[in-house]
């Protein structure tokens, strides 16, 4: 589902790809609205524009010959994409609905905290344990008030981290940051 447009043509094959609250209620592939598509094209245009400016505004042009070459092409292409988006001609990409964004927000937060705050501070393995357990608990449809479901969650997470430890620390002798815990 990593952005394979092909998947969108067969939504029944991959449940969960289609946002039910998509901007268009068509049975065929959902396509994001003009506004979203235009914003997406604008973002790419901005990146391309920035690369262009950086590449031409240099003292020594030699290392930037190649970036100069493709950044121009990139700006031209993103202008084409923008034009298409504004005219509503853009037919790929389902966009992101409000509900979908709310759903992933918690997960994104877990990932960012895990990688940027915990991994080096706590230690690689304890951070992995916390991140996996949190993600699992947040998105697990099983009841959250029962001891049994928590026991399952704990057991699965501990088991997986143990396997990771066996593979990376014992097997491959990877030296991970140690942090305050482990």
């Amino acid at each position: 589902m990593t952005g394979k447009p092909a998947v969108e043509t067969s939504p029944e094959a991959v449940p969960g790809t289609e946002s039910g609250t998509g901007s268009e209620a068509m049975p065929a592939p959902a396509v994001a609205g003009r506004l979203q598509q235009s914003v997406a094209a604008l973002v790419i245009l901005a990146v391309g524009g920035w690369i262009t400016i950086v590449s031409f505004d240099v003292e020594d042009p030699q290392p930037y010959l190649f970036p100069q070459l493709f950044s121009g092409i990139m700006v031209a292409l993103s202008l084409m994409a923008l034009l298409r988006a504004v005219r509503g001609r853009n037919r790929t990409g389902a966009g992101i609905s409000g509900q979908q964004f709310l759903n992933i927000a918690a997960g994104l937060a877990v990932m960012l905290v895990y990688v940027f705050a915990l991994a080096e501070w706590l230690g690689f393995y304890s951070a992995a344990f916390l991140a996996m357990l949190t993600l699992y608990s947040l998105y697990d449809p099983q009841p959250h008030g029962k001891v049994r479901t928590w026991a399952v969650r704990l057991a699965v997470t501990v088991g997986f981290v143990a396997v990771i430890y066996a593979v990376f620390a014992l097997g491959l002798k990877v030296q991970t940051p140690q942090g305050i815990l482990f």
Binding site: A169, L170, K173, Q175, Q178, I180, F182
Partner: protein
């Protein structure tokens, strides 16, 4: 491993860095950062020279190789000079003249003043090579042709501001003609360009050129004396009348960060040359065609200072 982790954790919490008494140093494995990728010449040699570290009478603890490649070594050395511990448990491999030239030419976090050499294990001089089918049989032939065809001689080498490039600059100066340096992404692709006839000549490592000698002509060695072990018949540049000394020789050895306790440095400086001289190490190095040159700490300190002075002068105009 677990014991080691717990010990390491306890140690890092309980003791201020650098306090580990030299008497029982080392009591856990020591790491050696290699600023190049696994499989490269530096990594390959580092793995061989450290393989007996755990023996009695040597370190008594294994040395673990940590690869941190990128940007011609800059990434690994920057990380080492700014983040490594100063308790003697984190060492790094150095490549002279690379790291000194980089510290002069770029804004790096490392220079010879914030690093402490321990000992040197190898020295790989640069050689000038041409394809077997080439019409040049000596440096003189090449120099004569280059005089008649200024700017037409392309010379491959591994990147800018590495041993090959320094040797190229010296050769160009000694020949008194303009040559064109074609930087490659490493010694192997640079050699390939000579074998494939894409460039007219190449500056490369003695060890790699020696292995490909069936398809190459090795015209000269950029060192003070001939290499008796591998290429006794190839003359130095000096012998052929060109003023090229050993400033481009690629020295490889071990260093630690400044601030490491003197007692630990002394202990390492005493053990490492013995480790490099180990019989098994010597045999494997010979098998791999890697020239050994063991130098103690004092000799390396002198060599670093000389290179720093020479390279500052050479690179000033570039």
């Amino acid at each position: 491993m677990k014991k080691f982790l717990i010990a390491a954790a306890a140690l890092s919490v309980a003791l201020p860095a650098g306090y580990a008494a030299a008497a029982d140093y080392p009591d856990k494995p020591v790491s050696l950062t290699v600023a190049y990728s696994p499989g490269g010449a530096t990594d390959f040699q580092a793995r061989i020279v450290t393989m007996v570290a755990a023996n009695k009478g040597l370190l008594g603890q294994p040395i673990v190789i940590l690869n941190r490649p990128g940007a011609g070594g800059k990434v690994g050395w920057n990380h080492f000079a700014s983040r490594a511990s100063t308790d003697g448990y984190q060492m790094a491999a150095y490549n002279v003249p690379h790291f000194i030239a980089q510290s002069i030419k770029f804004k790096t976090k490392y220079n010879i003043d914030n690093l402490e050499p321990i000992a040197n294990w190898g020295a790989d001089p640069a050689v000038l090579v041409v394809n077997k089918k080439s019409k040049f049989n000596s440096v003189k032939d090449l120099a004569a042709w280059a005089k008649d065809n200024p700017g037409k001689v392309t010379v491959s080498g591994a990147g800018l501001f590495v041993g090959h490039h320094i040797a190229f600059l010296q050769i160009q100066k000694a020949l008194g003609v303009k040559l064109r340096y074609v930087p490659h992404k490493g010694g192997a692709p640079a050699l390939k360009s000579v074998l494939g006839g894409q460039v007219i000549a190449g500056v490369n490592n003695l060890s790699d050129s020696y292995r490909s000698r069936g398809n190459l002509k090795i015209l000269g060695i950029a060192d003070l004396q001939r290499d008796k072990q591998f290429l006794p018949d190839v003359p130095t540049f000096k012998e052929q009348g060109y003023a090229v000394d050993d400033s481009s020789v690629n020295f490889r050895g071990i260093m630690v960060r400044k601030g490491t306790p003197q007692a630990v440095i002394d202990k390492l400086a005493a053990i490492m040359p013995k480790m490099f001289a180990n019989k098994r190490v010597a045999k494997q190095m010979r098998n791999g065609g890697s020239p050994i040159r063991i130098m103690d700490r004092a000799a390396v300190q002198k060599m670093w200072a000389e290179r720093q002075k020479f390279l500052t002068g050479l690179l000033k105009g570039l």
